[in-house]
Symmetry: D2
Subunit: 163 residues, 4 copies
């Protein structure tokens, strides 16, 4: 759909930033820095005491949520709602308070109805913390008010969309 | 290790409750009601606005974290630290603010070094929201001060551990 | 779609048997005994020397293929083509030549477009060998000539389908 | 363990070739061309009629087995038995008779006890057919007679190993 040109890249990057800015869970967990492009997103988080499990290490749910945030942004970067079907994560190394984690999502494949994304989660020292693979079901509903998506500066009335 | 008798069951249930009570992420997300037993745990969460994603439905990371909490409690219910190796989750139905989700973990298998757990996440109306499968690496380190684990009522000083 | 009544159950069971009978890989690997019903299938295999890996135990690909056969039959038991999107398998115990493995698939959920199936693989002694979870994309194309599906003994011409 | 130098690379490549040569399932399915190195392996297969499912496309179990063969060779390339714990696969595009599939395995991480591998399966035209992620439990038992592993040209008698 997007030709990968500079305009498409800028539009996708701007969309990723807007979507991230209105994501409540990202705010709750302190997930930041959503950079992106067509089919791509990068987010990060610094592990605090509230992110730990009862064994004193970073909760697996936090690492997953970080990867999942990158997955959601990358798969929604094309402008239509993509809903997660499944995800798989591996945990390689323990993560401690003070560590900064970065999740980088890339699009492995995308058809009209399905998309597959791979996300690497790395620690500040470069260690690979987790590998994550997620699949989405692609809808035809825009994930933003359509006027913004198609022609942000246009004075003409937006076309109808599904509420 | 645990014979499955009433005493073992009560000890595991008490341990699950204690582990849950000291889990910071469960508190942050509002995960509650940790019932359990040997290899089993049940937790729940009512979805609020802070649990949503940018599309206005429950964030996949929240559903995962709920299942992961049950997984962590069930796999640590035997008294030694069990560390997650990998997890897989499917997403079947959308979850909205106000829905209550319950995650129920059971032990599919457990050997000296590895354990496999299956977690069902259901919605208040009984719909199956997610299926989750997780594997742990079983260590020989206790996940609580040993005196509590071995003889809760003992007046003798606990032995040192986990230096 | 299928009401779960006796007729629907018999039709699904018959379809599972017909689909299994024309599956080349099942024949190549010696997968047998396809029993089934709406959303359900059971198949089995006795491990021979040709099923082993270089370490002399049953190849993970064989255990997966057995579970996958049950998954494919269960997800196609309703009469339309269901295509696998993803699958996850765990391996709990080693399997040796002479062991008989049985894979039992059940439908965890099914919507208009997606279905989730859980498959247990057990050994002859009852040990749980593998847990398998698979998701399919449901099409509207019949997986058999429609006359057979709807009225096997009817002399009337089949209705047109699959335009 | 292996320094990644030329000698280690050649030894691992030779080991991958020897392991592949004695793998019965690879022979049964027609999986060929095992190239490899430390933590790496590449295998391929041309899809024939015996590899199909009842819908006439390549059976998911065949695609998995191909990826799993690469996974097994890569994870055993260091000389000790590595046993699969779990695996996840996605299916992106249909595969037809005559297509050639290639599976390429790389080591995402390896600790003393656990290893994570990622495998891409591609079609002859370059399309990504499947992404596969697998985890192994690393043992300390050699996967070949030890003399070969340690000193291939030695005239001294091999030390005893576990049969």
């Amino acid at each position: 759909m997007e030709a990968g040109g500079d305009d498409a890249g800028r539009a996708a990057a701007a969309r990723v930033a807007r979507l991230a800015a209105r994501d409540p869970l990202m705010r709750l967990l302190g997930i930041e820095g959503a950079a992106g492009g067509p089919g791509r997103a990068v987010v990060s988080l610094t592990v605090g005491d509230h992110h730990l499990n009862f064994n004193g290490t970073c909760h697996g749910g936090v690492t997953f949520a970080l990867a999942d945030a990158a997955f959601g942004l990358a798969s929604n970067s094309h402008g239509v709602i993509a809903a997660a079907i499944d995800a798989h994560i591996t945990y390689q190394v323990a993560v401690k308070p003070g560590d900064t984690l970065t999740a980088t999502a890339v699009e492995a494949s995308r058809t009209r109805k399905l998309g597959v994304y791979r996300i690497d989660v790395t620690r500040g020292d470069g260690a690979l913390v987790s590998t994550f693979t997620g699949t989405v079901y692609v809808t035809d509903r825009p994930n933003e008010p359509q006027a913004e998506v198609r022609r942000p500066a246009s004075p003409s009335p937006p076309r109808r969309r599904r509420s």
